[in-house]
Symmetry: D2
Subunit: 330 residues, 4 copies
């Protein structure tokens, strides 16, 4: 049994809390959140004790921390945990600032503690199977990757305020997936954004609709399309073209029921949002991290993956402004 | 917290054990199985104490029993539990003998304890959604139901020996689904069986391939096709035709990955067998039973449903021999 | 160029007329129909001359006749054409009476002229591909066949009057397909019919909703389900189960457009009825017949196939009354 | 009956020849091709007379010409036909040179003859239905369009020599479709190309793998992905995202047969290439043109559409070199 602490009792924190509570080999000891109501809710559901950061960091029995708190607190918590030798699972992004990210990574590296970044989609059963079949050479060398990634609904202006913007909050997952599937690092990136859906994004200087093209050194290409709204639910699809064919992973639907009526044949729309769509991947990423900590194996998704995805975000922001294919420097 | 005992640590018992161990409102206190290895396995995974029937029955803190032991023990265990006022979840069939089934039901009725029969497919999310949409009148009055139900692989001769035969072990689920969807009780039934797949079935006077037609009093019809082997995995599909269209529920597949290759476009085959395919329904039926016990609500699938499905099995056996549409008398 | 005459300018006659007019190696010389308007319409579209039966039969340049007139005229026209040495393409059924069918077949046999029966579905590209893959052993020995065959709308009482009934007009195609796919002749047949859709059928002593089970000598099984109404259009599907898997052929849809909306994902319903759904098969069956006549090859679908399908219709009518699995005697 | 002449007896010329020969209201009088064998082949199949350009242009009974000859001859033939008052159906591109294109269009305009450009995909039943449903507002305002367009196999070096390159030969169709679906003219375009598939393209300074992003003035976006090779056949898909959902049109497959085997469920791959995939659209575009000429209606796809698609090709070539979002000036 490994004793763990969870930082953050928000939406994503609750997802982790439920998975940690069900896990046979860990004990969710502490929940830390500045909002007492949120903390109480998680505590009630899981039996975790409400604590403050200091207590947790000083408790030597806590060998593992899950950081799902506000983005601006990630780096501090990670560095504090690293200093105490605790294994760290951290939600993306590590920090919105690259220098601070590098500082944090240096601290983690120095401490030598296991660190996994929360790119949960890598653990989605369909994407994982797709990747494994790519790795087995089922379609030969990769040539083009097409990533469709669309949220069900725009966020409110309140929720957006203080966030990192759409590229750093949403596209970052797609950039990580692009890196994961291209088989080579992207070296150039083109981005373009528009304001077509919800004015609160433009108000903050942000985009609600965007397209991206990434290139690797050998000329492999990746397209990403994003929107903050899809009337039919969370749209998460991947398509990889190689010399010998195409592998793709489509949306998942709640039931297999199909209705043949007088107007059309219809079936379920995809799951509403990430909590439902990626339920399995959230459980699997935690399981992966725990196994890594138990066995000393290096997690498949590291701090460096978090950093590189952030650098792609920066290049995208630059390109959306310059209208140029920007060079990526990791 | 409700303290429960599980009888039976075989394949289906293990499924129930895992769901009971994860359930937030019950405690799996005891596991009873004549096979010490099987019992130990469940005990190790769930923390349940290995016990004998007597102890469990006499332990007043055990308010609920799950009977997933050998078929011939179902009726005795159910009657013993009823006598002690315990709520009973019982795997189908209650007994292979109708008289003994009736005896057991009388005892349960007299004791007034909650009783749910393990027709888990009623709790499958897709079949449940289909049924709910039927009930909402989406396709008007039901006219025909088509049930496809095919196991992945024949059982060995050893496994078959002492069993109730394919109709009573396998088709019984389809008969229950037919009743569930037709909206009227079947009053006539035609069955025909063949030996095309695996000789061990014929050796025991049984069939490995069968077709059925059921009729209700108003003339609604239901077709069932069964085979003990499907090369592509567990095949569980339902199609309901009504005045205004068709509702159907197809197989579920592990991932959404699709491969477009030089020869064909291919996707995952269905889940291998019931443990995977009906994972959600096993969890949901237990949840339903617990809620019923907690709230005093009558379970949706009762002992009477188990009895009626058995009567359809008897009619099917008679029809397969007589070559006639047999009358069903509940 | 082969000069041909078409008997019958009704719906199915018009389909043949259009295909004959477009065919590069035949010339549609005559159209014969007691209804002058119908004949004129075909004549206007194709340039065929309106003629009477006598003229056509006596015209030695007419080497081929297509009989798509009223059922009761089929046998007479076929025997007259046979006597004149003309190749005969005849719509099913040859006659509603088995004796008269046998008489007609004897006359055709004696004359030694090519004869093809209009079981167009054998020439549907999907069903044909399915059959070819069966023949190549892709799923091993056939065990069960499931045929879904549902018309879009019931016929009016007027249209039904004088017809042969649903089994002989509609199910006859499915019986032929069952024979085509089972790989063995059916030797037993069970049928059951209901009146659930449109009272005009029951008024004529007929059924609007029916199910069938056929058995071959080795125990292979076939299920057919029929309805005279499907709200979503013409439903024509086949499913064949064998030792190594399942081959199935689904409905065809007009376009590949899919709509993802706030309520569901929907796509086109199937083609409305046989003219659209089987457009390719009507062209292909004519092409096949012409090639057979040109090359002296025996058509794939012969008078004997027409006769055997009729015998299955008789067995079905008997079974629907007796409630027994009836023996089929070809 | 309209007498027509066809220029060009190559692959695309043969497609037009077959459709013209079958058309009920035109007569394919002449075929013109410098290659006598090709001309003879078309003549044999259709009965068209082999002629030279002069004869055709001087024959006043020829009211309509179909130009499917080598690209470099398009403008001359079109101008000659315009001068003689003949209606012109011209394959794309009008010319690889924009000035010459403009000259040709001016001549056509001056002559006032009907002119249709061969953007056949506009007449594909699925794309056409998608467009019609867009126009009906089914998904509200368009926000993003995704066009997948991949050829089955690279062309040989010989076939490529003298051609206009991939953007002008292949992507031009996608640019037209982008304009057709975006609902606004593109004003900016980004392109990037690679050499990953077949060296003959790079040898000619061309790309075999490319991605494009187009923007309209209001910020609507379109992505196009191209490859000269798709192992699974011709890949032609469209996806349109709007405020209220997504409309998409997938590939079409030869049959509806599905195989469920021990490894996977598989179905047909798409049609091999444009002759099969767009068979209906080639027939429909000719039909549309003939109706336009008969009724004096302006064709839906005009010379101006051909010109604008060429301008997008030029912008794409510039962008692929500059790495910039290039401004489009029609």
């Amino acid at each position: 049994m490994i004793d763990v602490c969870l930082f953050g009792a928000g939406l994503i924190g609750q997802v982790h809390a439920a998975n940690l509570a069900r896990h046979p080999r860990v004990r969710l000891r502490y929940i830390v959140d500045p909002n007492p109501e949120a903390a109480s809710k998680v505590s009630a559901l899981t039996g975790a004790e409400i604590a403050d950061t200091q207590t947790v960091m000083n408790d030597l029995s806590i060998r593992m921390v899950f950081i799902a708190s506000a983005t601006r607190t990630h780096a501090d918590l990670a560095m504090a945990a690293a200093a105490k030798g605790k294994a760290i699972f951290c939600e993306k992004p590590i920090d919105l600032d690259l220098k601070r990210t590098d500082q944090c990574l240096a601290a983690v590296e120095k401490a030598g503690v296991p660190f996994q970044i929360g790119f949960n989609r890598r653990f989605d059963p369909s994407f994982r199977a797709l990747k494994a079949r790519l790795a087995q050479g089922e379609i030969g060398a990769v040539e083009q990757v097409i990533i469709t990634s669309r949220d069900p609904e725009p966020e409110t202006e309140e929720a957006l305020a203080g966030g990192g913007g759409v590229f750093r909050e949403m596209t970052i997952h797609d950039f990580d997936m692009a890196r994961n599937l291209l088989g080579e690092e992207p070296v150039e990136l083109f981005a373009t954004g528009s304001s077509l859906v919800a004015p609160q994004y433009a108000k903050l200087g942000d985009y609600d609709t965007a397209m991206f093209v990434l290139r690797t050194a050998s000329g492999r290409q990746c397209h990403i399309n994003n929107s903050v709204r899809a009337a039919y639910g969370y749209d998460q699809r991947i398509e990889v073209h190689g010399a010998d064919g195409m592998l793709r992973a489509g949306n998942r639907v709640p039931t297999s029921v199909e209705m043949s009526g007088a107007k059309a044949i219809s079936h379920d729309k995809p799951y509403y949002f990430f909590v439902e769509r990626y339920a399995e991947s959230y459980a699997a990423e935690i399981d992966h991290f725990i196994i890594c900590v138990e066995t000393g194996r290096r997690p498949d998704v590291t701090a460096s993956d978090g950093r590189k995805a952030m650098i792609l975000c920066e290049a995208a922001l630059a390109s959306a402004k310059s209208g140029r294919l920007e060079t990526v420097r990791f």
